[in-house]
């Protein structure tokens, strides 16, 4: 239950974690709490931790406990905030640090919560673990040395996390379709979990092997899984491996040990400590496994990224010549940056929009990182000056966050201005109906929805994060705004809504002209094919194998 601090009523809030003088295990400080300024959730919350810098917190998170304590304050239900702050603290060290939280809302004021002190304890590496890792790796190497297999340089072994329907999975499916049908590759897929895309693989003649989730919580389980996957990789006869997502370091290590030239695609724009904290907890994987993760990043033949900003994030782990950015395209490139007037009219009619509505659309599964809560707050602030603005949030799911969003819309009386649309298999009509596309995510590498909007001739307002700034030039081909800041988001919406239809069309045309070169997904498959063929051929040359073409 939330404790209510003794402060003036216009400034309410408190920190839930870390508790005062807590001992935090690991190199990441997770800060969470709630705040209300003038009875409303603040526009902006930033957290400073000694040795970790200042970071913006994710805001508008559901807090039913605060709502219960302050039933008259509507925003109390979404007054939560959180942020993870990685600290540069070597294993085996302990440090006492202070942290501050600052909240503000333009026109309301600023509030710095009382300073808090915590002790960070990064456990030392276990030397027995390191020894065991070496021993087990030697066993795997000895077993692999007994296997002699003829490899096919045009046979690609893919390691991926899932065959369910989702952005990352569909990306891979599109890529494989292009490479198999367009560039003569043969492929095999190893997936952590099964899903409907298995049928798509079958259509392409791609055999699928479903393994377990990657195991890395202990050295023995890690080395065991790496050994199994390495044996599979070696016996597959593949000449080159493609590993998908940052969390697939088990697979990347296995491909290396099977002596397969390997390209590792990293979509995630998180630092390693942050990624590990979110996915595995504060002290996992163990140091010996972590070392393998870093060495795999350093030694795989290619690290491939979808955004230059993500590449820059991972450069310290590798070498510049091994890191390459290949941005993906979208099948919607065929629309050529334009939606025909009759198509647009039909889409708007079918979705119930009036001619004089200004339709804003955002696509993506509703979740905290997509910033839907702040977007609804921004709509609430502008509705009186732009009463014809209509926002469709397409991607509602029955999650805690989704339900909180529904409550927020209802509580603010925004039902006419904001519609929450369940996840759509085909969201194209919303893009065809849109006047403005909004991306309010606080972290994105290369949002596909922005590309799709550009292909449909819809100007984009987006947070200025990672790949978004590589696609949008603020004020020229769209509007950029700072992440996790409702004031900035409100201002961006105002700038977009204040522009005339002609100005918006001009922006959309400029955006399409800027991105036209890499929107075609065929180019994406071609680039991947070239990279993988080069890796396979280099290995054949090194071994003295003959390469058939």
């Amino acid at each position: 239950m939330t404790t209510m601090p003794d402060v003036e009523p216009s400034r309410l809030g408190g920190l839930d974690t870390p508790v005062p003088d807590a001992v935090v295990t690991g190199p990441v400080v997770y800060v969470s709490g709630w705040a209300l300024l003038g009875g409303r959730a603040p526009s902006f919350v930033e957290v400073s931790v000694e040795g970790g810098g200042t970071m913006r917190a994710r805001t508008r998170l559901p807090r039913p406990d605060v709502a219960e304590a302050f039933p008259d304050l509507g925003d109390a239900a979404v007054s939560g905030f959180e942020v993870r702050v990685p600290i540069d603290l070597p294993p085996g060290e302990k440090r006492t640090v202070s942290l501050w939280v600052r909240c503000r809302t333009a026109g309301v004021g600023e509030w710095v919560l009382p300073k808090r002190t915590v002790v960070l304890n990064h456990p030392a590496a276990d030397l027995d673990d390191a020894e065991l890792a070496e021993e087990l790796a030697a066993d795997t190497a000895a077993a692999l040395a007994r296997v002699e297999v003829r490899t096919d340089p045009r046979h690609l072994l893919v390691f991926t996390h899932s065959l369910a329907l989702g952005g990352g999975q569909l990306w891979l499916q599109e890529l494989l379709t292009g490479m198999v049908n367009g560039h003569g590759w043969r492929a095999s897929v190893v997936s952590e979990s099964d899903g409907p895309l298995r049928a798509d693989c079958a259509e392409l003649g791609i055999p699928v092997h479903v393994t377990t989730h990657y195991r890395h919580s202990t050295v023995a389980s890690y080395e065991g899984h790496v050994g199994e996957l390495a044996r599979f990789a070696k016996c597959s006869g593949a000449g080159v491996a493609l590993v998908n997502t940052l969390g697939a370091f088990v697979a990347a290590d296995a491909a290396r040990r099977a002596d397969l030239p390997t390209a590792w695609v990293i979509h995630e724009s998180f630092t390693l400590p942050d990624f590990a904290y979110q996915n595995y907890g504060p002290v996992s994987p163990p140091h010996a496994v972590w070392a393998r993760w870093e060495s795999s990043l350093a030694e795989v033949d290619r690290l491939l990224f979808v955004a230059e900003a993500t590449r820059e994030l991972f450069l310290p782990y590798s070498k510049p010549e091994r890191c390459r950015t290949i941005r993906y395209g979208t099948p919607m490139w065929k629309f050529g940056g334009h939606t025909r007037p009759e198509v647009r009219r039909h889409a708007r009619q079918s979705l119930g929009f009036a001619d004089d509505d200004t339709v804003l659309v955002t696509l993506g599964v509703v979740e905290a990182r997509k910033g839907h809560g702040p977007l609804v707050s921004a709509m609430e602030r502008i509705r009186d000056v732009h009463p014809r603005a209509r926002l469709s949030i397409v991607g509602l799911q029955w999650s805690t966050y989704g339900r909180a969003l529904i409550d927020t819309v209802r509580r603010a009386g925004l039902e006419d201005s904001v519609s929450l649309v369940p996840v759509q298999r085909d969201p194209l009509p919303w893009l065809q109906a849109a006047d403005i596309f909004v991306n309010s995510s606080d972290i994105e590498s290369l949002p596909r929805s922005i590309l799709e909007s550009v292909c449909c001739g819809v100007p984009v307002a987006a947070t200025d994060v990672f790949g978004a700034r590589e696609m949008i030039v603020d004020g020229e081909t769209g509007w950029l705004f700072e992440p996790n800041d409702v004031d900035a988001l409100t201002s961006a919406l105002l700038r977009a809504l204040d522009s005339t239809a002609a100005e918006r069309n001009g922006m959309a045309r400029a955006a399409h002209a800027l991105l036209a070169d890499w929107l075609d997904p065929a180019g994406y498959a071609r680039d991947y094919s070239a990279v993988l063929a080069e890796l396979a051929d280099q290995r054949c040359t090194t071994r003295g194998d003959h390469v058939d073409r």
Binding site: R381, V385, G475, E476, F481, E482, A488, T490, L494, G506
Partner: protein, 210 residues
């Protein structure tokens, strides 16, 4: 037989004496021949040994000659290889110098990139500040617009019914807000971030960008 020849006829004695003398001569000749034979055998052995040694020497000489020829060939090849190596070494030295130059350029470029990235990050921080200033102004304008909107959305009857004093009070409030915003704008223009981004704005004006 005995050496005593007495009792033998004289002729026989003479013949025997002659034969004895011949035998002595023959024995001496035999000894001489034996000695000669031994010498000859020794000479022959010496000669055979010498011939063998000569043959061995000749074979050795042939071998040496072969080895010399081989060594000469090898020497020629080695000389060629050495020349090639020298050329390679020179080429490698040139390449090394070139690599060092490239490496130093790479280091310089990496350093430049580091500096550029730091400058970029500083500019981004400035940009964030500028955006915050801009957003704050825009939101103040929004507040003013909302005041106007709330006045405008009042019913016509209510609008008509507003006393002149209230209307002038609203006007005064709006004027005050406009003055505040103007001052805010001027203050923003005096900030470091506004001055830092001035060249960008000038460039945009020159290129007629929005």
């Amino acid at each position: 037989m005995t050496d005593d020849l007495t009792g033998l006829p004289g002729r026989v004695q003479a013949e025997l004496t002659r034969l004895r003398a011949e035998r002595q001569v023959f024995a001496a000749e035999q000894d001489r021949l034996k000695s000669r034979l031994a010498e000859t055998e020794h000479e022959l052995q010496t000669l055979v040994s010498s011939v063998r040694e000569q043959a061995e020497r000749e074979r050795h000489v042939t071998e040496l000659a072969d080895r010399v020829r081989l060594l000469e060939t090898e020497n020629a090849a080695a000389t060629t290889a050495a020349a090639e190596l020298l050329r390679d070494r020179d080429a490698l030295l040139t390449e090394l110098a070139s690599c060092r130059e490239v490496s130093s350029r790479v280091h310089a470029l990496e350093s430049d990139i580091g500096v550029a990235r730091r400058e970029r990050d500083l500019l981004r921080a400035e940009l964030t500040t500028s955006r915050e200033d801009r957003d704050r102004l825009r939101l103040r304008l929004l507040d003013a617009e909302l005041v106007l909107t709330s006045t405008a959305v009042s019913s016509p009857v209510a609008a008509v019914a507003v006393p002149a004093a209230d209307a002038s009070s609203d006007d005064a409030e709006l004027r005050r807000q406009v003055d505040d915003l103007t001052r805010e704008l001027e203050a923003t223009r005096r900030t470091l971030s506004w001055r830092v981004t001035a060249p960008l704005r000038a460039l945009r004006r020159k290129t007629h960008r929005p």
